[in-house]
Amino acid sequence: MEDSRYKKLQRVYIVLILLVSFTPLFLLGGIMYYQVAKTYRIKIEEQIRYRAISQTDSIDLFLKERTAILAAIADTVNFDQILDEKNLLKIFEIINLRAGAFVDLGVIDQAGQHRAYVGPYELRGLNYFQQPWFSEVMTKGVYISDVFTGFRASPHFIIAIRRQEDKNCWILRTTIDPDIFGGIVRSAQIGKTGDAFIVNKEGTYQTTPRFYGNILGKTDIDPSKFGGLTTVNEEINSQGEKRLTAGRWLKNKTWLLIISQDVSEEMGGLLQTRNQEIAIILVGSILIILTTVITTRLTVAKLEEADTRMNELNAKLLQSDKLAALGKMAAGVAHEINNPLAVILQKTGWMEDLLEDEALKNSKEIVEYRASLKKIEEHVERARKVVHNMLGYARKMEPRLEDVDINETLRQTISMLENYARLNSIEVKTILSPDIPIIASDQSQLQQVFLNIISNAIDATGRDGLIEVKSAVGETTIDVMIADNGPGIQEEQQKRIFDPFFTTKQTGKGTGLGLWITYNIVEKLGGSISFNSEVGRGTTFTVKIPNAPPTEK
């Protein structure tokens, strides 16, 4: 019961301390992680947004430059000059040298007929009148196409400028190198998972993406989700990867630049931070648990020890209180017994007196009368002795301090009991430590103590027993152990052996005061008496007497 009470207390302490320690730890860890993640997220979103803005700016600039060059040429030469392919080639070479990325250059008349051409493809003589872009450029004046395959059967896009020359109107058209353009777009790709590409309003790739797709293929990104400003979304693509996507429309509003990045790569730094935090919390938790368990166990063990000591002390106090109370009561009772004893004694005396009368002297039963009266007197004497012992002891209780040699006292006591022991064929063995110092105590009272214990041992052991008397130096006491190999004390009797009038001896053989007096003497001398008994194996009494230095003389 007691054990489980302390175990329960220990559990309550541990749970409470852990709760109080872990709650703020985890709360703080969680909040910190949340805040860092939030800040980190904002930062990478800002970065990707910034990259999208700056990249659209450069692509816009690239297209604007190319358009401006074409417009400048168209505005400065006339139709006849430009139809001369020598001139056209010269212009082509100059603009490629200055700006680059032009694949070819061609002139188309207002009927859609390709009149002059410089470039790698054989397009001269083709008619574009039916091509959708032709009507576009004729109405708007400037036109940048989506990527298409066209006559040459390979993906490309064109920039076309219309020149109005009097009533005649013609078109200067160029193809932009898809590799160079794609290269510019791709320069926004970062890291292992970064991607950058352009899609048109229908979601068709205008440049080749890095992953999962090809130019003119369909993207799974929905361009309508990207509004007027730069939009950053988190999307899960067809491969199940979480990607952060920033999109910004180019100035022509038909092309959308998409920059995307795998979230896990971008958040790598944060993951590291999170792992560090988890590690710190883990180590901290282990330390907290260990410290809590160890300190709680130690504290509870100390508490248990203190409680045990307190209980022992209480039991001792209770015992001495009980004995003192019993003593007082016994003294009162004994005193009250004296009066009836006195009457009995006088009455028997009176009867003896009367038996001396002549008439009674010759009675037949006179001897019987006298013997009976003697018996009564004997028993009154016995009762008187009990009272005498008890009160006589109480009277001379104050110890007298003198130099005492414990070993010598033991030897004397044993020699007093030698005959009694021999009569019962009991051997008394002594193992006396030679280191026992002379101490200040009361020799006659100690003798009384040893006498009581050893004579009890002789009585208890019966015939052919062995009694061992040992002396030893304890920490602050001189210890005397008196062990017999008698029958031992029954457990239910063990609690009562120091009580007055408690005896296991036959009626009339013991007063039951011996151990009570012994206990009180040892207490008064500042020592302690205890015993250890095992039924069938014997009993050992231990008397501890304070090792007080002898008085100065």
């Binding site: 006195a342 005498h388 009160l391 009277r395």
Partner: protein, 128 residues
């Protein structure tokens, strides 16, 4: 009859009666009373040499008070106190008030008679 007289004071009537009878039987002129007040009356009226006085008498005067009064009336009267063991201290106090001796109860007549004799001896010595 002996040439001295004894007064026994004890509230225990059984004891008192027997003790008086036994002393009388041994030719000692003995009176018996059960209280201190009665004892003082007897001492005023009769020549008493030795008083055997029980210390513990509930109700009325106790032994010590009676002893004081006796000594006031007749300082030469010797008093032997009878005490239970518990009242040893009172017995000693009685000695200091001029009691001849104190005897622990229960007492055999064989022990009491020599004490009475000694007390009588002492009184006679003082008178002479």
């Amino acid at each position: 009859m002996q040439d001295f007289s004894v007064l026994v004071v004890d509230d225990e009537e059984d004891l008192l009666e027997t003790l008086v009878n036994r002393l009388n039987r041994r030719t000692i002129r003995t009176h018996g009373v059960t209280s201190g007040e009665e004892a003082l009356k007897v001492i005023k009226e009769k020549p008493i040499d030795v008083v055997i006085l029980d210390i513990k008498m509930p109700g009325g005067m106790d032994g010590i008070e009676t002893l004081r009064e006796i000594k006031k009336i007749n300082p030469l009267c010797e008093v032997i106190l009878l005490t239970g063991h518990g009242a040893v201290e009172t017995g000693i106090e009685g000695m200091s008030l001029g009691a001849f001796d104190y005897i622990l109860k229960p007492v055999r007549l064989e022990e009491l008679l020599p004490k009475i004799a000694e007390a009588v001896e002492k009184k006679r010595g003082q008178v002479q």
